[in-house]
Amino acid sequence: MARIPAVPTGTEPGPEFRGSLGEDRVPHTPRAITWKRRRRAVTQFWSIYRKNGMGMAGLYILVIFGAIALLAPVISSSRGLDPTLANGPILAGPSLKYPLGTDDLGRSVLTMTIWGSRISLMVGLMATVLTMIIGASVGIVAGYRGRWVDALLMRITDWFLVIPWLALAIVLASILGQSLFIIVVVIAVTSWPSTARVVRAQVLSVKQRPFVERARALGASDWHLVTRHVLPNVFPVIFANTILVVAIAILSETTLSFLGLGDPLHVSWGTILEFAYDAGATSLGAWWWLVAPGVCIVLVVLAFTMCGYAFDEILNPRIRER
């Protein structure tokens, strides 16, 4: 590893100089050094991650589904979703023309599944972003401020944790209505508490480390401590948690859609299954209509979970020994 030479204090740019081992253009401002270190950490992390079978498998699956979702307009036509334009055979099993069969209106299940991936993934991701924003903020503020702020926020968090998520979701959705936006909000409202707990625990452990106390003794402001010291150390945990939250968010969306709380204007894997079940696909034996979207859900959730586990293993060396 190249040795970084001592740097002058202050951030005024000066001439770059050769390193003690003769390297060119050694970074010499604290900021540049920090970014170089972060970049190195990322490349190091990637080289470890690459060797993790479970993590790579998950990643491949996600890339494939991501590609399908993004390329949906290219690989299939959205007119296939229009019930008025459907002209395929009703409830036909898989065939060459309709690889995943047709639904009760004659639409191709394959087309619907491809387009459904967009909504399912998008809702999952958006709900996750909202969850992480709320959960991480609450967790950081509670963990950092401590005392009564912490106690109050944790009481609220615990309260939300106690309520069964589906009960809350049902109640909220039945009042607020049904749209993609509301689904995203409802999922976020039911998911943020566990993220808040995880983030808070990590903040508490970081807060105790000597370098934080040292920085504060040097006169660092709260803002500086949080953004420059706490956040970078909490970030890996947040990231690992995010991956697992996406999995749960996708599952939640499908369940809410299945129960009829989804957005009726958009096709997602959950709504496909809702239509299928309501149309009696189970007793009619139209298994293709029910199996395809479900398998996609399982694969995507599995992929996110495997990536999340891989992340966990890498961050937590003790787990690796298992």
Binding site: D158, W159, L161, V162, I163, P164, W165, L166, A167, L168, I170, V171, S174, I175, A247, L251, T254, T255, F258, L259, G260, L261, L273, Y277, T282, S283, G285, W287, L290, V291, G294, I297, V298, L299, V301, L302, T305, M306, I319, R322
Partner: protein, 327 residues
């Protein structure tokens, strides 16, 4: 006595939590945009004149100040009056509807929780003890896949395969509609109808208990007191059960409680899939019909159930882990 203070603390927390749930429930439906009378009426499918609306508002006590309404609400709830269903069973009191549908759900959730915990824990112990074995790896994969499935989808698959295709089990309901069984026949009929929903719910959560038990056991096996137990000359089985499992079981107890909310959510969806006449199916019907009193009651009831489950788990944990009782 430390245990008594602990108990009182816990119960105090429960009361406080329930209070906020009642508050939330109350505000949720009172703070709706729009005239509550119109909303209720619209939901009931009727159209009211202005005078009728005012009369309804006065009847429901909606014209009184909010605080007054709230206390009336609490009083009513404590007396078991949760209002009347508007659409699903119009006119019938919510509490009486609940009591009709409580037992099937209790049986379903109770049995599946017991089964998934027992099997999950046992499998987890076996996998952790024999780490790296074929059993370990295959059960890991199996559990991960189960975890990734929506439980109701698993239910649908099982339904298609066992009930529709193979015809081994009925496709839904609580009892057979064609035959009228009595006595032992009735009991078997019940079991027949219970089997698939119960299997679904058990499999749905088995994976999580398995994974947690396995990792918890692996953590414990690295501790020094396990080496000490061996050094004392204990047989491996004793080391495992008396020392390792006894400590590794603790996080699982917490998980069962934390999971209970998800188990209830599973009950809602699985009962719907199997048309199993319990509180879950009732919730689905209430939701589809926008029967607000019923939904409010459901929200209250499920929250209370989770709180009680958590309380039991806390007490059980305190019994199992003496360190917790200190503080």
């Amino acid at each position: 006595m430390k245990t008594r203070t602990y108990l009182l603390q816990k119960i105090g927390q429960v009361v406080l939590t329930m209070f906020f749930i009642l508050l939330f429930n109350f505000l949720l439906f009172r703070v709706l945009p729009g005239n509550p009378a119109v909303l209720l009426a619209r939901a009931a499918g009727a159209r009211l004149t202005k005078a009728d609306q005012l009369q309804l508002i006065r009847d429901l006590g909606l014209d009184k100040p909010l605080i007054g309404q709230f206390f009336t609400y609490i009083g009513d709830t404590l007396r078991g009056n949760l209002g009347k269903s508007t659409i699903v069973y119009p006119g019938q009191s919510v509490t009486s509807i609940f009591s009709e549908f409580l037992r099937p759900t209790l049986i379903l959730v109770g049995i599946s929780t017991i089964l998934s915990t027992i099997f999950g824990v046992l499998m987890g112990i076996h996998a952790g003890w024999r780490r790296g074995s074929r059993f370990d790896l295959s059960s890991m994969g199996f559990s991960l896949v189960l975890y990734a499935m929506p439980e109701w989808w698993l239910g649908i698959l099982l339904l298609i395969f066992f009930a529709v295709t193979l015809g081994l089990f009925p496709t839904g309901g609580l009892v057979s509609v064609t035959q009228n069984y009595t006595g032992f026949g009735h009991f078997v009929d019940l079991l027949n109808h219970l089997f698939l929903p119960c299997l679904t719910l058990t499999l749905a959560f088995l994976g999580e208990y398995y994974l947690l038990m396995r990792s918890s056991l692996l953590d414990v096996l690295g501790e020094e007191y396990i080496t000490l137990a061996r050094a004392k000359g204990l047989r491996e089985k004793l080391v495992l059960w008396r020392h390792a499992v006894r400590n590794a079981l603790l996080p699982t107890v917490t998980l069962v409680a934390l999971n209970f909310g998800y188990v209830l959510a599973g009950a809602i969806t699985v009962e719907t899939v199997y048309s199993y006449p319990g509180l879950g199916k009732l919730t689905f019907d209430a939701l589809s019909a926008k029967d607000f009193p019923l939904l409010q009651g459901m929200f209250l009831f499920f929250s209370l159930a989770v709180i009680i489950a958590n309380l039991i788990a806390d007490l059980l944990y305190a019994y199992l882990d003496p360190r917790v009782r200190e503080a």
